[in-house]
Amino acid sequence: MSELALPQYEKPRPGNQPPLDSPPYKATALRHPKQPLVLLPQRLTEVTGPLLGDSLITMQDADLTTRYAGEPLGQRIIVFGRVLDSGGRPVPDTLVEIWQTNAAGRYRFYVDQHPAPIDPNFDGTGRAITDAGGGYRFITIQPGAYPWGNHHNAWRPAHIHFSLFGRAFTQRLVTQMFFPGDPLLPFDPIYTSVPDTRARARMISEFSMAETQPEWALAYKFDIVLRGRGQSVFEEPHA
């Protein structure tokens, strides 16, 4: 009889993740499945995943402030942290992708028509590969808040989008990093879509005086926790 010893990734507690149907975020209305989800066992395709490494990365990808002839406008910041799994294990050699607005709250992307200035020296995108301890570090500019059409006087709190792979298809995560003390957070239907208030707070970075660089840049720490793994054996009952 065949058997395969495969890692199994634990499921997040339901209140720790946003529901796909979240009426305060209006765009969810027509973009969530209404039929029940079908359980997908974690087998070979689900416990493996793309290990995207150096081929996509260049040295400058983690520094968003030195790509152009001039310096971008705004507050220079260091965003750093570790990618871990929920068992506390670092996730090394994994791709981290980010995108964000400039200091004025404007994305350099044709879809964004918010009448705030574009910064010719800032494109707002970055990539990094985690080191052996799961660490990553970006140098960027403090993003701005911006209005959106979800409801009257709707403003997104300043945030940086993060995309993570981990080492398995099951661990894939796209999230947003927010800043401590932002007064817009309680009004943001994306932030507040996560039912558990302590889980929400895990999307808020932490100011780090220790990593703040004198005369140069403020630092924010953002650890990202992916679904953790345990070993389990899937096999037929022994005769």
Binding site: M1, S2, E3, L4, L6, E10, P12, R13, N16, Q17, P18, P19, L20, Y25, T28, A29, L30, R31, H32, P33, K34, Q35, L37, V38, L40, P41, L44, T45, E46, V47, T48, G49, P50, L51, W99, Y107, F109, V111, D112, D123, T125, R127, H161, S163, R167, F169, T170, R172, V174, T175, Q176, I190, V194, A199, R202, M203, V225, L226, R227, E235
Partner: protein, 189 residues
């Protein structure tokens, strides 16, 4: 279950600043012998195309192997190839996407049964607070699909939403209906 995992948040409408890359849709380079092209469109619950969506695919190679340390069958015989296993394509204004790949092989399920050839798909979009997960199966694998342990758990009348349809030589169509009539089967992973 874990209390520590970072919550998901939507990719929003601006992910295309960063996530697409020119080789993204090419799981294998264009012109690879035996390559198949999978085209499709993503639709919302009103039947309108989703122009700000993204799909990612992950799959075994034609021999049913993964270049990954957690595949307990060990390294792929013959070593590295140009086969990446991973595809990524944003949707166009008409909701369309394309993936160029090789058809994966069948996989051992672990209990003596066999999984039919399939491609795992993550679906992202503005308005989706978390990804949704679906699978692409192949229309020329009727017997294997009938024996597939994952398809067996899908209500019979919905299974067809997971099976690509022939659209020409080496060309398959796989539309994704996020909601509504013909809603695609999505998985709880």
């Amino acid at each position: 279950m874990s209390d520590l995992v970072t919550p998901s948040a939507t990719v929003g409408p601006y992910f295309a600043m960063r996530l697409p890359f020119p080789a993204g849709p090419y799981v294998v380079p264009a012109g690879t012998p035996g390559a198949i092209t999978i085209v499709g469109r993503m639709y919302d619950g009103a039947g309108d195309p989703i122009p700000d969506g993204l799909i990612e695919t992950w799959q075994a190679d034609p021999a049913g192997r993964f270049a990954h340390p957690d595949d307990p069958r060990g390294p792929i015989p013959g070593g590295d190839t140009a086969f990446r296993g991973f595809g990524r394509c944003p949707t166009g204004r008409d909701g369309s996407f394309t993936i160029v790949t090789l058809k994966p092989g069948p996989l051992p399920f672990g209990d003596g049964r066999t999984e039919a050839p399939h491609i795992d798909v993550s679906v992202f979009a503005r308005g989706m607070l978390d990804r949704t997960v679906t699978r692409i199966y192949f229309p020329d694998e009727t017997a294997a699909n009938d024996a597939d342990p994952v398809l067996a758990a899908v209500p019979r009348e919905r299974r067809a939403t997971l099976i690509a349809t022939p659209a020409g030589e080496n060309l398959l169509r796989f539309d994704i209906h996020v909601q509504g009539a013909g809603e695609t089967v999505f998985f709880d992973l």
